[in-house]
Symmetry: C2
Subunit: 153 residues, 2 copies
């Protein structure tokens, strides 16, 4: 049982934006900081932009930033956009399920109840909480150094 890589890096991207003291963060820099591809991050950005969690600014000096204060973005908001499915098992996902129990199965509601408890906890954690140690995160992500380098120092 695990969250997808998409959700994991969506949260990390938002943490980066929250930790970045500049107005706009750049995807190539985020990709470099986390050691993942830009293409992968751009793919994750789509649902985040569509739902307003992230705003994009186009152009040479463009970049991305949080669409609302970090205090107003919960982990539940993020996971809702980035997970493809909350069907806990393939037998509940489509009508072609093989299992003869599919319509009378108490297991369905047990998984659902557990999932709700999981999501309930996530709704109490915000990107702001996760970025509370902002300065430490900023330095670990190399934010200061990158900016200095970009400015030619």
């Amino acid at each position: 049982m695990r969250i997808t890589k998409q959700t994991n890096y969506a949260v990390r991207m938002l943490m980066y934006c929250a930790a970045d003291r500049n107005e706009l963060s750049r995807v190539p820099e985020i990709a470099r900081a986390y050691g993942v591809s830009e293409l992968f991050l751009f793919k994750i950005l789509k649902p985040l932009v569509r739902s307003g969690i992230v705003q994009t600014v186009r152009g040479r000096n463009g970049g991305i930033k949080l669409g609302r204060p970090a205090e107003k973005i919960t982990l539940f908001d993020v996971i809702r956009e980035t997970e493809d499915s909350f069907a806990m098992a393939e037998c509940f996902e489509n009508d072609e399920a093989e299992c003869p129990l599919v319509n009378s199965c108490a297991l369905n509601s047990a998984w659902r109840e557990a999932l709700n408890a999981f999501l309930e906890v996530l709704s109490h954690h915000t990107i702001a909480d996760l970025s509370a140690t902002r300065f430490d995160i900023g330095s670990r992500l190399g934010l200061g150094e990158l900016r200095s380098a970009a400015r030619g120092h």
Copy 2:
């Protein structure tokens, strides 16, 4: 986010055993009822037998049965045996993680807290609860018919 197919069918196998009014259930019959391969079910059986959730009886009239009353087997007991890992994201699973935040990440504890809520719910559901509509499940799984056929009716 989803549970593995292993966990899903482990629970279904236990529901089958609980619904089966005979002393022993046979894996080929369970495989046929759920439309999965015997090999797959035998693979899942290993950790269930090792942990005592399932008992096997060898021989021509052998088979499997619950290792203790269905009331004493929770979904948590099962998932603990059948899920390979409870690391919610690959960055917490090994020491080779790329993420520079891995040692200072509040996200780790947020996922962990949510996972604990998920597992807590599962610890309150037993195989007996899931098999409460035992007769309905038995007929849906074709248990009556299979036995009649085996007896030559």
